[in-house]
Every structure is written in structure tokens, then in C-alpha cells.
Assembly symmetry: C2
């Protein structure tokens, strides 16, 4: 059932029906009512393609889903992010297109969707410093919002990684720790730089020097955490606490600490980041940071929609607060099971 069908039934022109559908005024009350009834009766819904072709708008947003096909590494926050973003887009009448491709062809795929007009704007939750795709998008001035990474050239939404780690480190310092290691995620992520800043700032606030031998970077994996921490634990003066860049890294740290027959948190205290579903069920349960992923996703969609509408975005960047979840591994609080 097309707009022409409705027009014929209502004995008006398709243009008039279009005006009613798009809630434009300039249509007599009687006519409008008649048309509305017919639309409801026949369950008419405008064809997206015809609308798109006529208006140039796709009513679709894209999200670049960061899967590294070769590694099958998926950051644990994505399911929640996708849910929130999908909801927010749907509520605004936009569909959400998942732009996931094996690394390498990623840029082409996204750029093709963009230039073929299939999406009106794009959400980028996996940008790192030096990202080529972002460069291309910035060049074209295509509506884009980055999530979880900060780049001055574009709009972004992020959480306060620095504050969270500052706070976490301070708690460890308050518990008496003097040698605190940082087993961080990849350095090309602004989030990891920020976390390092928080760590450094906390140590400095207590006049403690940051020692390079107690700092490491690597991918967000348990293996990476294990490999980074193991040598530190063999130092003459080993760390008594570890701030890990993610829960998965922390899981690797737990293995490393166990392998040295040390207890957590008595011998080595430990914190993670992300609050994955199982973080609470590691042994000991993991003190970690809960990031407001859903809020970030919803906010990012709002911002993107403004950009798509051609509105000025102010503010263009947003930092949302995260929350520290104290459990057993840090030795700085009480445990809650569920």
C-alpha cells in the first residue's frame, strides 16, 4: 500500500497525503482526519527508499564495531554500548547499521557506506591515535561522534578515566601501599593515557616517584597482564599493589601473583577496570571501575543526531563520571556478592 493508494482512496493528491504524513500544516482539518483514518485503516507506512531518494536522508546511523577478526578480541563493553545506542537510535526513528569488517578493509567499508549515502552519521567506539578512518571522516566533514577516546578534531563522549584511576590509586596509597604497579592497556588509546595520568598524579600527590620498571602497556588480555606483571614480581623490591588497565588484564595478574605463591590482597593488592559480569566472581572478587557505557552511548547518539541535523553542537565533548566498585582484591573495603 503506497501513498498513491491512500491518495486515491481519500480522493486527494499524493502531495496532500505526504503533508499529512510529515505533519506539515496547510491541510484542512477534515481532509487531514480523513487521510489519517485511511492510513491507520490500511496500515500505510512510507517506503524508506522513496523517502530517502526524495529527501537525501537515510535515517540511519552507523557504528563501527571493533572486531579484529583475526584475534576475536572484543572489548567487553560493546554489548552494552550496542544495546544503548540501538535503543536511542530507534527511539529517534533511526536505524543502526553495524559496520563490522575484518581489520584492513574497515576503512573502505565504512567510507563506501558513507559515500553511497546509506548512513547519515557514524559512531566510532574504537578509535586509537593515528586512526586513518577518523582522518578520512574528518576530511569529509562527515557527522561523527567518537566514544571512549578523545580527539580534538571531532565530537566525543568519554568517561573520566583519569579521575577513576586517581581515586583507585589513592585508595591503595591510603591502605599503606608504597610500590604500586600499573599494568595498562594499549598506549594508543587516550583512555589509557588518561589512566596513566591519574596513576601518576596520585603518586605525585603523595610525593612518591613513578618508577618505569613498575609500568607496562599491552593489549587488553589476560595473557598480556600475566606477561607484564610476572617480571615485576621478581624484582628485589616488588610491588605490593597493582592497578590493571582492564578486568581481563587483572585476571592475568591474578595468575601471575598465584604463580609466585602470593596472596591477594594480603601480599599484592589488585584492581581492574570495566566491571565485566564475571569480575565479581573471580577469586578474590575484583575491585574495579564501572563505566557509564549506556549513558555514553545514549548521549553519543543525541550528539550525533544534532550533527546530522546540521545543528551546532555545544558542548562538543563530554566527560561522564565512572564509579569505583570496591571488592576484595584491593583490600580496601568490604565484599558484596551480588
Amino acid at each position: 500500500v503506497t501513498i498513491t493508494d491512500i491518495a486515491r482512496l481519500a480522493k486527494v493528491s499524493p502531495g496532500t497525503v505526504s503533508r499529512v504524513v510529515n505533519e506539515q500544516d496547510g491541510v484542512g482539518a477534515g481532509t487531514r482526519e480523513r487521510i489519517l483514518r485511511l492510513i491507520a485503516e490500511h496500515g500505510y507506512q512510507a517506503s524508506f527508499f522513496a523517502q530517502n531518494l526524495a529527501t537525501g536522508s537515510a535515517f540511519a546511523l552507523g557504528i563501527v564495531f571493533p572486531i579484529l577478526a583475526s584475534e576475536l578480541v572484543i572489548h567487553p563493553v560493546f554489548p552494552e554500548l550496542l544495546g544503548a545506542v540501538g535503543d536511542a537510535a530507534g527511539e529517534a526513528g533511526y536505524s543502526l547499521s553495524l559496520l563490522s569488517v575484518p581489520a584492513g578493509t574497515r576503512d573502505d567499508r565504512v567510507l563506501s557506506e558513507v559515500s553511497r549515502g546509506r548512513i547519515d552519521g557514524v559512531l566510532l567506539p574504537d578509535v586509537r591515535r593515528g586512526d586513518r578512518l577518523l582522518d578520512a571522516l574528518v576530511d569529509r566533514d562527515f557527522p561523527a561522534v567518537v566514544v571512549g577516546h578523545r580527539d580534538e578534531r571531532v565530537a566525543w563522549v568519554d568517561s573520566d578515566h583519569d579521575e577513576a584511576v586517581f581515586e583507585l590509586t589513592l585508595q591503595l596509597l591510603d591502605a599503606g601501599h608504597q610500590r604500586i604497579a600499573l599494568v595498562n592497556g594499549p598506549d594508543e588509546l587516550s583512555a589509557c593515557t588518561l589512566r596513566r595520568n591519574g596513576y601518576t598524579r596520585a603518586l605525585e600527590s603523595r610525593g612518591i616517584e613513578c618508577e618505569p620498571e613498575l609500568q607496562a602497556n599491552g593489549p587488553f588480555s589476560a595473557e598480556s597482564g600475566f606477561k607484564a606483571l610476572s617480571p615485576m614480581l621478581q624484582l628485589a623490591h616488588r610491588p605490593s599493589a597493582v592497578v590493571a588497565g582492564s578486568d581481563l588484564i587483572a585476571a592475568g595478574c591474578i595468575e601471575a601473583i598465584r604463580a609466585r605463591q602470593l596472596r591477594i590482597p594480603e601480599d599484592v593488592a589488585l584492581t581492574g577496570f570495566d566491571d565485566q559480569p564475571l569480575a565479581n566472581h573471580l577469586n578474590p572478587s575484583l575491585t574495579t571501575v564501572r563505566v557509564p557505557i549506556s549513558d555514553m552511548g545514549r548521549t553519543a547518539v543525541q550528539m550525533l543526531l544534532q550533527l546530522v541535523a546540521g545543528e551546532a553542537l555545544r558542548p562538543r565533548t563530554l566527560v561522564l563520571p565512572s564509579e569505583i566498585v570496591v571488592r576484595d582484591s584491593s583490600g580496601t573495603g568490604e565484599r558484596v556478592i551480588f
Copy 2:
């Protein structure tokens, strides 16, 4: 740059350019070459909307993303599934639309996308018995493939839940366990019914009776596992092994077993399902089942694409083998850290 631009430059009609773009024959070799060069030179790409409007095909697949907004419960397999499905769709030139909405409006949203012609087919990874959306889709005879659930009315791809649990239970029986509990997922999922079947079949194969007091159903959450297992551990004759319906349920079982001061696997052996990233880092590491999610996703896309093309699907259903990952919690094998 549109097809008309290219046509003008090549001094041919748009129709001829269209034939070249769509690799139809009936175009002179010289003309074809000239047009191809122009296309490459100007980076022409056909507009999706115009193509769609002319052909009626959306070149888009939808996937109903199972987020329960109220509960924020997301099954751990979805990131991997989305990645695989997105890749497969992209390779076939199809985009993947994420149809995620708060439960309740879900059906309307999906049906609207369908009737407005925005998607050509839909993947359903979250169907349960009595699913209204599936009913509606079946009624309309709309191309759909279900993943991880079996319903005779539609095409589906699933893994061999029954075999996996049969095998797992057999291993426990072989290790000498006589009283084995089943803390299963929701009963509306065919996957859980199948798992129960595997469990039952294994016990019966050894002439052991299935006792109702050792069986429970509930959501895929740690809390659910905790609540279901706790009373069983207080039975006069408590189970010496537990088959859990998911890793998260198993995590709750670990808590319950610990709360009774029992050791795993010495006092109570335990198995999970899914092999989530952290399953290997629970204490003890969890014996579990790895489901071939990526394969299932890719296969589902292939099947859906056949349906979309109007081809007959044979076979219409497919069962892929899963793999048992033996770790410490079951006491039936050796441990591997990474």
C-alpha cells in the same frame, strides 16, 4: 557523481552505464572499458536508495539484538555473533541493521522495518518458545533464520547442546560421581531443553535415576545459580557434581559451594557452558563448553541470503558441533592457563 554524469562523460545513456555496473552483458567491449575507466576515475558508486527503489531490494539484513533494557542482561555470545554476522553480511554486499529495542516494543520495531522494506531478511538469535515476533514473521513468510534455538516452522542453525552435555555428564560419571545436579537456564529455550536431554540421557545410560530435587531452571545469571544450588547442597544426600547451564550460572554455583565451605572439585565438581573470556580465570578454572558462534553466525547469514534470493534452502536446519574445554573445576582433566 551520479550515473547520469558517467553516462554523459562516456557519451552513452544511463542504461548502458547501469548494465556495466551490474555486470550484465550486451555491452560492447570498447564501451564497457571506457565506462569502467570513467567509473574508477571518478569513484562512482551507485546510490543505494535509487537502486533500492528501482529493484525493491534493500541489500540489508536485520538482526534482533536481545537486550532487555530493564535488566541489562546480555548473553555473552552476542559480541562474537555480531562480529561474525556483520563480516559475512558485509562480504556479500549486505549491510547489517541492529534491531535492538526495549522488550515490548520489539515486535513493532522489527515488523515496521520489515513492512517499510528496510531489510530483506532477519536473523533471530534470541527466540524462545512462544515468541510472538517469530509467529508474525512466519505468518508473513518473511525470510528469517533463527540462531541457537530450534523451531520447526523456520530455518535455524544451532549447536549440539544435547551432545555436549551428554559428554560432560558422562565425564563426571566416569570420574565416579553418582549424584549430579543440573542447574539449567530458562526452560523456554530449546537449547536448555536439549541440555537437559543430554544430562538425562547420560544418567540413564548408566542406569541412574534422574531426581527432580537435583534439577533447577532459571535465568542465565550468577544469582540464579547461587539460589538454585544452595538448597541442593543442604540435602541429606547432596550432589557431588553440578552441571551448570552457563558460565555465569556456574559462577553463582561457585559462590554457593564456597559458602558451604566445600572445595571444588574435591567435594563438588562443576561445569559451565559458553566459555566466556573470564571462565578460564575463575578459581578454580571452569570446565565448560565452547560453542562455534562464529561458524553459526556465518552459516546463518548464508542461509538467510539464500532465502532472500528466493532459493530453496536444503537443509533448512543445521547443527554444528561444540567443543568441551576441560579445566580444573570438573576434576576430570588437566589445567591449561592460556
